[in-house]
Each structure stands twice: as structure tokens, then as C-alpha cells.
């Protein structure tokens, strides 16, 4: 298990993605799975950066665990910001015509679709969001 604690800002999204990729390097993760993981990390860390501490700033911890049987990666995002369950949000309507589609609101939905598991809990003043993907 490896973890990184870093200021939750949009500028740090790429650093977090690089950190996660480094942990996966040794496991021969398929390109498509790795890209899906990168996208999920981008969405979830950007969400924390934009909303958790707004208008102040704060820190977030990203923890990466690689599990065996089946080989999978579990990534946990922890922040001390406002209580927010992204999974409680209603899924967007993906059947709308182009002109009726709102700009945005797809990030968490993409994560839900691309990961094998996603869980949220609020504990001891912390938002704890965990994603799991078989690789």
C-alpha cells in the first residue's frame, strides 16, 4: 500500500495520476484498464479540488492498494472537507439530444460505468471514496 497526501488543487491532478500510474507499473496493467483508472482518478481528485474545501483549500490523501485473486487495484480518496456523497447524485440522462444536453455533470457517472466497484462513507469527519478495478 502506498499513499500520497497532497493539497487538493486542480493543478495537482496530474501529480496524483502519475503517482497512481507508478504504483501500477509493476503489474502489467492493460492499457485500456489503466486509462480508465487515470480518468477515474482525474474525475475524483478534480471533484475534491473543486468542491471539498471551496472557497478555502485543504489536503487530500490518495491510497493505492493492489490486490490479488483477481488482480485488482483499489484506490481510496480521503478528504476532510464538506460532507459530500457523489454517489447520491442522480445519474444523468444519456439519451438526450445534443441541443438538450447540459454541459458537465458526467464525471462521476463515467467513474461508475468504468470501475468494478465504488463505495462512499463519511466517517470521523472524512469523506472516504473507494474505487476498485480488476486489471
Amino acid at each position: 500500500m502506498k499513499e500520497l497526501t497532497i493539497e487538493a488543487t486542480p493543478e495537482n491532478v496530474d501529480t496524483v495520476i502519475e503517482f497512481v500510474d507508478e504504483q501500477l507499473e509493476a503489474y502489467g496493467c492493460g492499457m485500456r484498464a489503466q486509462m480508465a483508472i487515470d480518468v477515474a482518478v482525474d474525475e475524483l481528485f478534480a471533484n475534491i479540488a473543486h468542491y471539498a474545501y471551496n472557497p478555502d483549500t485543504g489536503y487530500a490523501t490518495v491510497r493505492v492498494d493492489v490486490l490479488k485473486d483477481p488482480l485488482s487495484v483499489e484506490i481510496t480518496f480521503i478528504d476532510h472537507g464538506k460532507q459530500y456523497d457523489p454517489l447520491a447524485k442522480e445519474d444523468p440522462d444519456t439519451t438526450l439530444a445534443l441541443e438538450d444536453r447540459p454541459i458537465g455533470g458526467m464525471g462521476i457517472f463515467i467513474v461508475k460505468k468504468s470501475m468494478d466497484e465504488i463505495t462512499y462513507e463519511y466517517k470521523d469527519g472524512k469523506n472516504i471514496l473507494t474505487i476498485k478495478k480488476n486489471i
Binding site: 486542480p10 485500456r32 486509462m35 454541459i103 464525471g107
Partner: protein, 100 residues
């Protein structure tokens, strides 16, 4: 991410290479915004795009709404991880997309 633009008459081609996430999306947005005036054909060439997050999707949806009024828009050379995002979100049904 590297973004290059090419104007050929009223046809604009925007090529993006690398990773289109939260940090890179504003660059793509600027390339579109600065050049879209008077364009009748907008082509995004994503041959070198490794992945796209929702921040990139937002730029494409905004561009598609503009182009619906002033011409056409197409996304070409879409790689599998990027196609996954179009499929999950139903954007594959409303955009003109050609895979690699």
C-alpha cells in the same frame, strides 16, 4: 497534452495528443474558442489521444452545440479508451465519431 490547429478555408482541424483531463482541457477549449468563428467544418483528430475525462467532454459538447448552428463537426481516429467515454455517456449517439 499537445494541441495543434490547422485552418483550411473554413475547415478547422484540431489535433490533440496525450492526456485530455482536468489540467489540459482549458488548452483545447482555447484552441476551439480562438478559431471557431466562421468555421463550417470542425474536425477533431484524436489519433494521439491516450484518454479523455469529462473535462474534455465538456469542451466537445460546447463545440458541437456551436457547430450545429454553423456547419458540421466530426471526431476522427478515436482510440478505444476515448471511445469508452463516448459510449458510457451516450455521446457516441449524438456526435459524428470515427474510430481508429
Amino acid at each position: 497534452m499537445t494541441v495543434t490547429t490547422k485552418m483550411d478555408g473554413t475547415k478547422l482541424t484540431v489535433s490533440a495528443e496525450g492526456k485530455l483531463g482536468t489540467s489540459a482541457a482549458p488548452e483545447l477549449e482555447k484552441a476551439v474558442k480562438d478559431n471557431i468563428g466562421g468555421v463550417t467544418e470542425l474536425v477533431f483528430d484524436f489519433a494521439g489521444l491516450e484518454y479523455m475525462a469529462s473535462a474534455g467532454l465538456r469542451v466537445l459538447l460546447s463545440a458541437a452545440k456551436v457547430m450545429k448552428k454553423q456547419g458540421g463537426m466530426k471526431i476522427i481516429n478515436v482510440t478505444p479508451p476515448v471511445m469508452d467515454v463516448f459510449t458510457f455517456t451516450g455521446m457516441a449517439d449524438v456526435l459524428d465519431i470515427e474510430t481508429e
